[in-house]
């Protein structure tokens, strides 16, 4: 049985302009020691999917579907039980290091807290362990920096404190929401190596949210591409990168600047994401898709197979894959 099974997850948020359907019909499974990457347009619901698993959605949010961790449905679990699950089995590296660290407490105190609380260490042991954790994520002079407040650290150092915090309780599942955006590439690769070791040695499972397609391609077994709150394409990393199928995925790859490439104007996908409070009936990408037809607007597209375990929700896959991505959107 899978470690984590997400079935038809829906998240609706209360906004000042009415209810917004931030996540719709998202399903996936995660085995022990497996890693899943989530990519997609900014605002497409990646963080909300992650927060739904953690039971940390914004106030007023409602959910539907199931999030099964073993036998337990996390969506219906009472908060006090969920709190225990969060401390021990699920951990998350949040996208916003500054708002998730308490500005009034030293980083040492914040890293030590779960060690004292969940792992029952003594104060001096916890301090040594906190030092080890910060050192492990590459914070220079970690010992002397335990007494620093978050504002005294650089953006990337704060992000590494968050990573140390998430790893402190040896979680079964680590959800990492843009964990390396504030890190330079050498430290990024050090952190990704560290996470990979935990996955391969300790059998930790990983959900990695990132818009760095390079990071995704190097770090996960499976990839899920989201657009407008739902999954438009998913498959094994190898297969997906080898045969990008959905027009949105193809557009995404075409917009990426490449090191050593020509400094030509970057390809963009014209238009903006649909309003989540007022979603179209058919395909959510229809308003921006160069291949759109009447049929796309009429009904949501079915998920069609592309290759083994690789599927895409588009009725024009043949046309989408025939054109080069940069041609599709020029």
């Amino acid at each position: 049985m899978s470690l984590l099974r997400v079935e038809n997850l829906e998240v609706t948020l209360q906004t000042s302009v009415g209810p917004a359907r931030a996540v719709r019909d998202v399903s996936f499974q995660l085995e022990r020691g497996q890693s899943l990457g989530i990519v997609g347009e900014s605002g497409c619901g990646k963080s909300m999917t992650a927060l739904a698993l953690m039971g940390l959605l914004p106030e007023g949010a409602t959910t539907a579907g199931r999030v099964m961790l073993g036998e337990d449905d996390l969506l219906t679990m009472p908060e006090n039980e969920l709190c225990g699950v969060r401390g021990n089995r699920l951990a998350m590296i949040f996208q916003e290091p500054m708002t998730s660290l308490n500005p009034l407490h030293t980083i040492g105190a914040q890293v030590m807290e779960p060690l004292l609380l969940h792992r029952g260490l003594h104060k001096s042991e916890a301090r040594d362990e906190a030092y080890r954790l910060l050192d492990q994520v590459g914070i220079p002079n970690a010992k002397s920096r335990l007494d620093n407040y978050p504002h005294q650290l650089s953006g990337g150092q704060r992000q590494r404190v968050m990573i140390a915090l998430a790893l402190s309780c040896d979680p079964d599942i680590l959800i990492a929401d843009e964990p390396t955006t504030a890190l330079d590439v050498t430290i990024q690769s050090q952190i990704l190596d560290l996470i990979e070791q935990l996955v391969s040695r300790l059998g930790m499972s990983l959900i990695l949210i990132s818009h760095d397609l390079g990071v995704i391609s190097e770090s996960v077994d499976r990839v899920m591409v989201m657009y407008g709150g739902t999954v438009v394409e998913s498959g094994p990393t190898q297969s997906l990168f080898h045969a990008l199928a959905h027009p949105y995925t193809r557009g995404l790859f075409a917009s990426m600047p490449r090191l050593g490439g020509k400094r030509e104007r970057l390809t963009t996908i014209p238009g903006t994401v649909p309003d989540l409070a007022d979603l179209p009936t058919g395909c959510t990408f229809a308003g921006r898709c160069p291949l759109v037809t009447e049929a796309c607007r009429a009904a949501p597209p079915p998920r069609l197979p592309v290759a083994d375990g690789h599927e895409a929700a588009c009725i024009h896959l043949d046309l989408a894959t025939a054109a080069r991505p940069s041609e599709l959107f020029s």
Binding site: Q152, T181, D193, L266
Partner: protein
């Protein structure tokens, strides 16, 4: 294009910034963080200058000092010829409309109590007297130009995703049409398709209004796309500087080489990550002798531990602070 007589939009000279750490022990001197240790460069009008380097090497400190949000320990910053730390309050406020910053941390920099329309219009209200109608129009325009909707004006910052908030921060910096924009990781929270829109917009603004950029980014491809010139920093110093394309194609400092080797490239399937740099970053709380990169440098020789390499001119606008710059492998 640039006559040698033009006043640089930004001129930084021998900038230093040292932070004092909290006292650990009553009778011991408090520790110091040497965040900037003598940084100098100039940016000519309408050019883009990129800053890359190790996390914690002083990039944001440099940006904040250039924006006069922090006072340097030593050195000068001139914007359009004015020495920032020699101006009185009013003169500095008047000059501020000419330079704006996009902060690395958009969450902390957007006031959660105000609607987006007000947040974005904020620099306008201090800088120029525009009518209310005009202001709404300007805010709507600038929101659209970063890929948001005019209707987003009436929402609060917390109702947006990470990347959307970053676009609000960018819109706010653009709204006064400043001459200099200092952008600290402006696109790191954006997915590549929105990133492409913002990068194209940055270029368009440069083409039509001659905006000058100082861009801090960990994404070397982004820096290469936007910037004419780039500086690579390591532990508070510039270790290499030059024309972006030439420098990335043929780096002359082993740290730059390591950076380029670590760039993840989306390939077919799970490619193996490039080998990470060995060793830990040298102490930032003490100034050593010799080269600051020596203990992690694969090319280090005894001389590197004894003698600090100066930033020297290799010709063709390329500078490197490595004794063995000529021996850095081409990759």
């Amino acid at each position: 294009m640039n006559a040698p007589a033009t006043v640089p939009v930004l001129a930084v000279e021998e900038l230093q910034r040292h932070y004092t750490l909290p006292r650990e022990h009553l009778f011991r001197e408090p520790g110091k963080v040497y965040a900037l240790n003598g940084v100098s460069f100039e940016i000519q009008p309408g050019r883009s200058f990129g800053v890359v380097g190790e996390s914690g090497c002083g990039k944001s400190t440099l940006a904040r000092t250039v924006m006069a949000l922090e006072t340097p320990t030593a050195g000068t910053v001139r914007i359009l010829g004015h020495d920032l730390f020699d101006l009185d309050k009013d003169a500095l406020r008047a000059l501020r409309r000419h330079f704006q910053m996009v902060f690395q941390d958009p969450y902390g920099s957007l006031d959660p109590r105000h609607k987006v329309g007000r947040v974005v219009a904020e620099p306008l209200t201090v800088s120029d007297e525009v009518g209310a109608r005009d202001r709404v129009e300007k805010v709507a325009d600038v929101l659209r130009s970063v890929g948001l909707k005019a209707a987003d004006m009436d929402k609060y910052p917390h109702e947006f995703s990470g990347g959307q908030r970053q676009r609000i921060a960018i819109a706010r910096a653009l709204v006064t049409r400043p001459e200099l924009i200092v952008a600290d990781e402006p696109v790191s929270a954006l997915d590549v398709s929105v990133q492409a829109q913002v990068l194209n917009l940055m270029r368009d603004l440069q083409d039509s209004f001659g905006v000058t950029y100082m861009l801090i980014s960990h994404d070397l491809a982004v820096v290469e796309y936007v910037c004419d010139e780039v500086a690579v920093m390591y532990l508070g110093r510039i270790v290499e500087r030059g024309r972006t394309e030439a420098l990335f194609a043929r780096p002359s400092h082993p740290y730059t080489r390591a950076l380029l080797d670590a760039v993840p490239r989306p390939g077919v399937g799970r490619a193996k990550r490039g080998a990470a740099l060995k060793g830990t970053v040298m102490s930032q709380t003490a100034l050593g002798t010799g080269c600051a990169f020596a203990d992690r440098c694969p090319m280090a020789k005894p001389r590197c531990l004894e003698e600090a390499p100066p930033l020297r001119d290799l010709g063709d606008h390329h500078l490197s602070a490595c004794h063995y710059a000529e021996d850095v492998p081409a990759g």
